[in-house]
């Protein structure tokens, strides 16, 4: 019945999946997005919404260039989405900070930036270390314990939940089929087509793009690919809506366009998204109050924990299958930052049927074997 109904089946309805699906639909593909249900482990509902450049790429220099490319494409991406849906995802690139609460933290930060930018072949962009006084000129509400920080003018942020909604709205308007509660159990390839088996029926498509976050680890081997993942839990604390006071995002603290302040960036070795470690939230809150003492009286109205999509080395994986031509993986931690790349660069490659090695070659999962062998 559904035989060859779709050109591409995108597995995963999170930000990576829907950005890719949107890009595919723009290329004229008939696309189906297969998603899990309401209680799925959803990294896209639990992300911090940074479009972030500084500190990306230590250990894999091309990642820095790939990140800068997306950052540069983001404004146009947001504008296109606005024209299509009328929804503003509030992309801003005012430059962002990484704040240090001691001289030791500041020195560690300076060393890390130096190591990153000293790598051969890395794209060069401005990222500087500022002392307390220089930071205070841009972030007047910092507390006395802030020793300084690093600043990069390419850093920005977005309303990520609205981005999520906007992409779903755009998919809907473009006639993309969205199938929630369709967890993919098996993928087979017969007669040049993929069959994706779910409890609610089998979907047939010419190509498959695996964009299922940590679940790619389970799915990729079904099409002769691999996605070594290392999921971890992160927690976020959110305050009530406040009048705008913070005009630059900090890597662990930002004020959203709605006025709430998001505080976070914890890492725990847990894969249970339901739990919450109060001591972790307390540490996040404590650092936030030391950075911005005026936040002490703000009410915390929500917290959440979510499982980070994390590959084993932290860098994205983009691959095409040799054994199962037409199968691709699109897998990364920074689904917000890289959304523009996934929509505007990766999706067209998948539509054409081949990844462009000059752009995404370094991100093949084959690197894990090279490292193991080396």
């Amino acid at each position: 019945m559904l035989k060859d109904a779709y050109d591409v089946a995108v597995v995963g309805g999170g930000l990576v999946g829907v950005a890719t699906a949107w890009g595919l639909a723009r290329e004229g593909c008939r696309v189906v997005v297969l998603d899990e249900g309401d209680r799925a482990v959803r990294a896209s509902r639990g992300n911090f919404a940074l479009v972030w450049v500084q500190s990306k790429g230590y250990g894999l220099a091309p990642y820095a260039g790939w990140t800068v490319r997306s950052s540069e494409a983001w404004a146009g991406f947001a504008e296109t989405l606005k024209q299509e849906t009328g929804l503003d995802v509030c992309f801003q690139r005012p430059g962002g900070f990484h704040l240090a609460l001691s001289e030791a933290e500041l020195q560690a930060r300076a060393d890390a930036l130096k190591r990153l930018h000293n790598q051969p072949g890395i794209v060069q962009y401005k990222a500087e270390i500022l002392d307390h006084a220089a930071v205070k000129r841009m972030l007047p509400d910092i507390g006395p314990e802030v020793a300084g920080g690093s600043y990069c003018p390419l850093d920005g942020h977005v309303n990520s939940l609205r981005l999520f909604r906007t992409l779903h709205t755009a998919l809907n308007a473009r006639g993309v089929t969205y199938l929630p509660d369709h967890r993919v159990e098996a993928i087979t390839r017969e007669g040049g087509e993929f069959q994706l088996v779910t409890a609610r029926g089998t979907i047939t498509a010419g190509k498959v793009a695996l964009a299922a976050g940590n679940a790619n680890m389970r799915l990729a081997p079904m099409v002769g690919l691999e996605a070594p993942m290392l999921p971890e839990r992160g927690q976020i604390v959110v305050t009530e809506r406040l009048r705008p006071f913070l005009h630059h995002p900090v890597v662990t603290l930002r004020q959203t366009d709605e006025g709430t302040v998001m505080i976070g960036d914890s890492r725990e070795e847990s894969t249970d998204p339901r739990g919450l470690t109060i001591g972790v939230s307390a540490t996040e809150a404590s650092r936030a109050v030391r950075m911005f003492p005026l936040l002490a009286s703000a009410n915390v109205v929500r917290t959440w924990s979510a499982i980070r999509v994390m590959t084993q080395d932290g860098f994205p994986i983009y691959d095409q299958s040799e054994s199962h031509p037409g199968a691709f993986t699109v897998c990364c931690h920074s689904g917000v930052t890289l959304a523009a790349n996934h929509a505007l660069t990766v999706a067209p490659m998948i539509a054409r049927g081949a990844l462009d090695a000059s752009l995404v070659g370094p991100f093949s999962a084959r690197r894990f074997h090279v490292q193991a062998a080396g």
């Binding site: 309401d38 809907n172 969205y178 929630p180 960036d265 339901r274 001591g279 972790v280 307390a282 009286s297």
Partner: protein, 459 residues
């Protein structure tokens, strides 16, 4: 306040008071946390410092709370008012905030007695100043001796509506009208349970109340209620009829206040008769999380007298688990009294089952008051493929404001169920996490963290 207790009771209504008394008398180190300035919960609000001199106004049912409050005070339990419990987890650590200071208290057993709240009544204009819940008017009548002053309209259905109308009339209030939204067809379904109801204590009380109200004011049947005004309520429109009004009091039953229990990880299920989520409990009101019981209306709506019995039963179980040799009352007699109290419940549930049209709003009617999300937005997003309240929250921010879904959760679940052709049980409820009530960032920052917890953040 100690750092740990045998039993922490959360909520100072009838269930919490009875539980704390029973446990403390049996020798458990017991603390009762209640958020309000005084004990009594909602039903016995203001019971220890009531400004209403004429006892007839509130009725003998209300004053029955005096004995419970006195018993709790004499029991040896530590009672802390103005204490907001914002966290509870499977380790039985209770996060509580008192006078602007947060701390965690370790319990060996916990009884959640957080009671009920009024079912969302999302009609056009329900966010206007001048529109309140009937329970709100009752609260200020009980605790502060305040009575509506201007043109007042009551609308909705359920026992509390009649009780409030009677109390206000006794106190000398003038009501413009009472609009009863009980669907007439409910009577036929309820009739099946009439024999039990006739035997229950609610039968005579209820009938007397209805007679009292109907004798003194006009009660009309109504289907569609709308509050109209720009800056505040100007008129109530009932089935097309416009009634200039200063105050509209809404009520369509109460539902368990589930936020703390859900955040604690307790399993809940949809109760198809009461149209709400209720915790899954054993005969002693023990929940799916070992050591935590849920008593009172939080365990499913049964009323104040039943709540006290549930509290006793849960407390007896806690005593037996922690101090097997301690003397406790026989739970059988509490169970029998509870059974009698619950006898007429099915009839009341069926009779006062709110109509779909008043549970599942349409168009521009606000569903989430905090984030100002409309029914049309929720419905449209569900049609787009959004299958559950957590995804809905991500798309529309409903449930993300300070009330954390208390005023929109059931509506959102029901709207999704309708649009997706699913049952509310399949759709489920918001995932909730501590703090279930706001605490300040400074309070959160003051809490202890282990070395590992610090390292999870400071890298």
């Amino acid at each position: 306040m100690n750092e740990s207790y045998d039993l922490v009771v959360i909520g100072g209504g009838p269930a919490g008071l009875a539980a704390a008394s029973t446990a403390a008398r049996a020798g458990l180190a017991t603390v009762l946390f209640d958020e309000n300035p005084g004990i009594g919960g909602q039903i016995y609000r203001g019971i220890t410092a009531n400004p209403v001199r004429n006892r007839a106004i509130l009725g003998e049912e209300y004053w029955a709370g005096t004995a419970l409050a006195a018993e709790a005070k004499a029991s040896g339990a530590t009672i802390v008012n103005g204490a907001t419990v914002w966290s509870l987890d499977a380790s039985l650590a209770v996060g509580v905030s008192v006078a602007g200071r947060a701390r965690t208290i370790q319990a060996r057993r916990v009884i959640v007695a957080t009671g009920a709240l009024e079912r969302p009544f999302a009609i056009p204009g329900w966010t206007l100043p001048g529109v309140m819940t009937a329970g709100a008017a009752q609260t200020v009548l009980k605790a502060q001796g305040l009575l509506p002053n201007g043109r007042t309209v009551l609308a909705g259905s359920g026992p509390l509506l009649w009780l409030l109308a009677a109390q206000m009339l006794r106190a000398g209030a003038r009501l413009e009208a009472v609009f009863d939204t009980t669907p007439p067809l409910n009577w036929s379904r309820a009739a099946l349970y009439l024999p039990d109801f006739l035997l229950s204590p609610y039968f005579k009380k209820g009938l007397a109340l209805m007679r009292e109200v109907k004798r003194r004011t006009k009660v009309r049947a109504a289907r569609h209620i709308e509050a109209v005004g720009t800056d505040k309520l100007r008129e109530v429109v009932v089935d097309g009829r416009r009634i200039p009004s200063d105050l509209l009091l809404l009520h369509q039953g109460v539902v368990p206040n589930v936020n703390l229990a859900i955040a604690a990880g307790i399993d809940h299920r949809w109760d198809a008769r009461q149209l709400c989520f209720v915790p899954v409990l054993d005969a002693d009101f023990g929940s799916s999380v070992p050591g935590i019981a849920v008593a009172g209306d939080g365990a499913g709506i049964a009323g104040g007298t039943a709540a006290a019995e549930r509290g006793r039963i849960a407390a007896i179980a806690a005593v037996r688990a922690l101090a097997p040799d301690a003397a406790v009352p026989d739970p059988q007699s509490a169970r029998q009294r509870l059974q009698r109290e619950e006898l007429g419940r099915a009839f009341l549930d069926e009779l006062y089952r709110p109509p779909k049209a008043l549970r599942r709003p349409e168009g521009g009617t606000i569903v989430c008051r905090c984030e100002e999300v409309t029914a049309a937005e929720v419905r449209k997003t569900a049609q787009m493929g959004c299958e559950g309240p957590n995804q809905m929250k991500a798309f529309l921010r409903c449930g993300m404001g300070p009330c954390q879904g208390r005023l929109c959760g059931l509506t959102v679940t029901e709207l999704i169920a309708e649009e997706r052709g699913r049952t509310p049980d399949e759709v489920g409820y918001y995932r909730l996490r501590p703090p279930v009530k706001p605490i300040t960032l400074g309070e959160l920052a003051s809490l202890p963290a282990s070395e590992a917890e610090r390292r999870a953040v400071e890298r």
